[in-house]
Subunit: 183 residues, 2 copies
DNA sequence: ACGGGCATGTAAGGGGTTACATGATTCT
DNA sequence: AGAATCATGTAACCCCTTACATGCCCGT
């Protein structure tokens, strides 16, 4: 499970429940990672069985008891080992969108242009999200937080998303232009 | 199975065996899709059970009989339906590399710089692959092939890979510079 | 009155990887 | 002599998604 690295990463900054973890993932890594609660809970159980995390139970009324998880020294070690593994490859990626574009021509020129234009719109909307919501989230966080995380890399990763999306937009504009010239 | 769309896409251009399919995927879509034979064979069986492909058996000696698969009209319909589904979203992505970079700071500045520099090297190597091997593959193919596929979108997708990789490189250079300035 | 937030989970199934199994031919 | 190519597949296991299950509290 590679989700376990995400969990260990967040727990290394402070104790959290599974529910809180989900919110942290949604807020800060949605650009490059996501997970459902139905995956987080079993994963926490698994990490606990391996001794990488422990939890305290906080009784509550009207809700299930809270289980506050914290990273153990063994967990910290595992996280560090993973972070230290050489980052000297570019793992193969998958993209259903690009796959579809690859086979799109068989629909004929007008349909192909419709699809490319739709995708262009989606990418533009995404660019706006990165420039507005995501940006504000980071600003809010950086002002209000404990100094253990600077938000430095977070802002840089937001910029990564912005740059890659801009590149996609320019590429799609170019493809549409080329396509219109054809035949 | 989204692999089934890849298979239907390739079979729409002409009949192939599972083994050939693997080579086609490796050659042309490795930029955004990949699959192992152990996944391709069951997937073909599944498509056959659904009536989307059929196969002819060609006896051989010393090797298992060849099974040459072809797309059926129902298969073509399924492919077209998929290609026509609105391309108006940007599906969430996952990247272990970005995830690692997000948590990298906890290793300390020198280690973080080592990791970022390694990743920069990997991205530069990838850029060269796109500019050389991939480019030559496409040129070879475009000259020697049946006119049903123009290789037009293939070359554009290669350019997409080149552009995105260039963006990654510039971003990493910027991050390393920022990181060196810090503290 | 109804939806959303809080808080935990289970179950079923899709999709994918790695390792294993067979066995002839051809290249280095 | 050993590796790669051709050609098919199975088995075990991991990762993830979707749907389901429970139940209180708070805001509109």
């Amino acid at each position: 499970m590679s989700l376990s690295h995400t969990i260990l990463g967040f727990l290394s900054l402070g104790p959290l429940t599974g529910y809180d973890l989900k919110k942290h993932i949604d807020n800060s890594t949605q650009l490059f990672w996501h997970a459902e609660l139905s995956q987080i809970y079993p994963s926490l159980k698994n990490l606990e069985a391996k001794g990488l995390v422990i939890f305290d139970t906080v009784p509550q009324e009207g809700k299930p008891d809270k289980k506050i998880y914290a990273i153990t020294p063994a967990g910290r070690q595992t996280l560090n080992d993973w972070l230290s593994e050489p980052l000297d490859e570019t793992p193969p990626t998958k993209s259903l969108v690009l796959l579809k574009i690859f086979f799109l021509e068989s629909l004929g020129k007008p349909q192909t242009l419709v699809q490319l234009t739709r995708q262009l719109g989606a990418q533009r909307a995404r660019l706006n999200r990165y420039r507005q919501e995501t940006r504000h989230q980071i600003e809010d966080y950086t002002q209000s937080s404990n100094p253990s995380q600077s938000g430095f890399l977070w802002e840089l990763l937001r910029q990564y998303g912005e740059l890659q999306t801009q590149t996609s937009i320019r590429w799609l504009e170019m493809v549409i232009q080329e396509m219109e010239k054809k035949i």
